[in-house]
Amino acid sequence: MLELLSNFSQITGIYWFMNSPWGWPVAESIHFFGLCLLLGTVGVFDLRMLGMANGLSYEALHKLVPWGVVGYLLNVTTGTMFLTTSPDQYLFNPAFQTKLFFMLIAGLNMLLFYFTTAAAVKSTPAIITLPNRARTIAAISLLCWCGVIVCGRLITYFRPPYHWCFWC
């Protein structure tokens, strides 16, 4: 796995870019801006579903969500750049593993939302409070993205092999 990721980084030129003088901070800046796009659109929509900004149309606010997808794609791209450049610093890192876990839950939660609840939410008048199911999905989404951010910051402070984790 390590070799595979490293080879990918070398072949694609990612390794060269990330080890150039400003490669890493540029990728980090884009990564953080992607997260802000995600939180500013998906996170804000979650807050709305939880009852904040009462009177703001669910359907209209949902129009911002495609920008959250742009943010997510920025994050996946830059995240892949980090991972493939230093795979040993991520694969065995408990903070990174927890971050991936939160991303998985957020992804499954999003699928649940779009398959079961999204249509009803978008057609709900702005002054109506959403049912508990939609509010629970929003709360899980928001918690997961906050978890992703916190774990992302913690990656720097839990470098293997200095910190033990039971699954490493």
Binding site: S29, C36, L39, T41, V44, L56, A60
Partner: protein, 129 residues
């Protein structure tokens, strides 16, 4: 920080013309959360500054971040006050420009913030004595 920038990104995107059906007078209802989170970044920022004052204060990038942050927060306050009035009385063109400026300022704040870790040339104040 992500909530502060995120809410400003949502307002900024709306002001530059994305999702025009979002009523401006309603989107500002997210600003109270924005200001609570701003207090959190002020406290955590001061703690980080207190931990390594020389590292930040000797780095020009720190002042760039601080300037962009202060102007960005000033614009947030302006939007919050300005968008409370009737939408018909709002100069949309001016707001569009300010929305774009706000987005740019938050990109600068984030980028400068990340570059702080890579551009400092002094870590401890003891270097000076």
């Amino acid at each position: 920080m992500a909530f502060v920038v995120g809410i400003n990104v949502a307002v900024g995107l709306r002001l530059v013309g994305i999702a025009p059906k979002i009523p401006l007078q309603r989107i500002i209802n997210f600003y109270p959360l924005h200001w609570y989170c701003s207090i959190a970044i002020l406290v955590s920022g001061l703690a980080l500054l207190a931990a390594y004052p020389a590292k930040a204060l000797t780095n020009p990038v720190f002042y760039l971040k601080l300037t962009a942050l202060i102007i960005g927060l000033g614009l947030s306050r302006y939007f919050q006050l300005k968008l409370q009035v009737e939408q018909s009385t709002i100069d949309e063109k001016k707001l569009k420009l300010l929305g774009a400026l706000s987005l740019l300022l938050w990109v600068i704040t984030i980028t400068a913030g990340r570059f702080l870790a890579y551009t400092h040339n002094t870590l401890l104040a003891s270097r000076f004595y």
